[in-house]
Amino acid sequence: MAAWEIWDDHSHIYGVPGRTPTERMAALVKYADRLGIQRLCVFMGMDFVYDPSPERLRLENDQVLEAVRAWPQRAFGYVYLNPKHPAASLGELDRCVRDGPMVGVKLWVAEHCNSADLDPIIQRAAELKAPVLQHTYLKIGGNLPGESTPMDMAALAARHPKATLICGHSGADWERGFRAIRPYPNVYADLCGSDPTAGMVEMAVAELGAERVLYGSDAGGRSFASQLAKVLGANIPDAAKKLILAGNLKRLLRPILQEKGIRV
């Protein structure tokens, strides 16, 4: 592989061989090494639940804590929260981020992200300088009941202009997703979790600027290869690739890493 510095903003210990979080993290790192990926942001547990209870959130976050503690030089953890359980979510945010090693927040499909239920989570994450990665998708057959769209993300961003928000998957239907988040400079486009269709990254750079685009894999459900190819195979300048592959994520995480005394 070329000597790119590569930080992956979106990976899981789900879909990876191994009986424990530590074993799965080891497998994930092994595969990442083959493609020269140095750092992985990891969130959610060994199995996924659409609408996790407070107990389930704690279990999954404990699994990620085990994984990242085993690989502190390679993995960053994001705390998984459910806005339907605000008190428990704020408790987990404090436990895993304020008082623990995690550096970001992950929200999935429990509730649409334009809901006011997210506000205390976003405010607290911003205080902790933790970026918030919200899953978004745009399916022509219809989303899951609580599954957010990039348009929902735009509504959230309008209420929280100072928070660092990452639009997970950019809606997957990226031609619509990039347009939806375009007016909101505090929203970053996560490239992962969709097929490696040609032209995606070129449009992201043209419409958002390279500074707002983040490489991610969504491993283990997706391969590192198919998602990394989106950037490496794009017709964009090397300087833009450098930002997308690592520079932007380093910039977003630098404040919270400095707070925690983590040097990279």
Partner: protein, 311 residues
């Protein structure tokens, strides 16, 4: 071909009909006398899944044939099996296939091997098949049931398989072209259900089938375990998940896996990087990168040569 239409060879009536209907009659006449470009390359990748012309819903990088060829060349592709995006929605497939043959010949720089589109729902599709085999000397055809509105248990599909197998054509069957969830809402094309292939494989001697764009390869792995004379191959364009190839090889024979990129709709580098993400022996790499596809193509070429010698 065993005269499925009552026609034999390139008779005058057929030729005039074709010349009136098909763009590039001059080129077609030249192809009618040319040897089929089916020689396997001596080195480099064989990409069994590329397409020419325009994707219906979006301009793509490298959707000009010359640019695609140059891009594939930079990716060390020696040979690419090319269908046409026009084959998805155009009704005049005779013209689509003539353009494809012409494009491959004029702009392919020896790399592009044309695979014409056949739609068994169209009237007189057998003539399209005949032209692919006899006029354009294509080694195979490409099918798009999702876009042509039939399921694999349709009797016309079984008949098409039989005729193509008799002609020793390689059949490329595209199970889908893109993520169903991301399609233009006015152009939804559900993925093909491959399950009817199980009895068809048993009923169709000599069938050589390459499944393109297999999103869930484990669902078709049982096809490869079938006995009998037919052969089923997979390619890796839509294979996803970490270390996908080495994990897939626990379920399918190495001899049935080929390199495919689905370029230019997909980014070519995706398929190349999959070869790096899995730990593969030199033998495995050689088989996937080239040898399996070369062997498949060579069997077609041998068949053609035998028939030419006999004729």
């Amino acid at each position: 071909m065993s005269d499925p239409t009552g026609r034999s060879g390139l008779d005058r009536r057929t030729f005039l009909k074709a010349a009136a209907a098909v763009a590039g009659a001059e080129a077609m006449a030249r192809h009618a006398t040319a040897e089929p470009p089916v020689a396997a390359p001596s080195g480099g990748l064989i990409d069994v899944n590329v397409s020419l012309s325009r994707w219906p819903c979006r301009r793509l990088p490298y959707d000009e044939t010359r640019e695609l060829v140059a891009h594939l060349r930079r990716g060390r592709v020696a040979q690419a099996w090319a269908g046409s995006f026009d084959g998805l929605l155009h009704k005049n497939l005779a013209a689509v296939n003539a353009r494809l043959a012409e494009d491959c010949h004029r702009q392919g720089q020896g790399m592009l091997i044309p695979f014409g589109s056949i739609n068994p729902m169209l009237p007189d599709w057998e003539e399209d098949l005949r032209r692919c085999a006899q006029e354009h000397h294509m080694p195979g055809i490409r099918l798009h049931p999702s876009y042509h509105g039939y399921k694999l248990d349709d009797p016309a599909f079984a008949r098409l398989l039989r005729l193509a197998a008799q002609e020793r054509l390689i059949i490329q069957l595209a199970l889908c072209m893109e993520d169903e969830r991301m399609m233009n809402p006015l152009m939804r094309a559900p993925a093909v259900d491959p399950s009817p292939l199980v009895p068809l494989m048993k009923q169709t001697p000599g069938l050589r089938l390459v499944l393109l764009n297999t999103r869930a390869p484990l669902t078709v792995a049982p096809l490869m375990a079938l006995g009998g004379p037919g052969e089923v191959y997979l390619e890796i364009a839509m294979l996803d998940g970490v270390a996908g190839i080495e994990r897939l090889l626990q379920h399918v024979p190495l001899s049935r896996l080929c390199f495919g990129s689905h370029s230019p709709f997909y980014i070519f580098e995706s398929a190349v990087l999959k070869l790096k993400e899995s730990v593969l022996s030199d033998e495995q790499l050689h088989a996937i990168r080239q040898a399996n596809a070369a062997r498949l193509l060579a069997s077609k070429s041998e068949s053609h040569n035998r028939r030419t010698a006999a004729g």
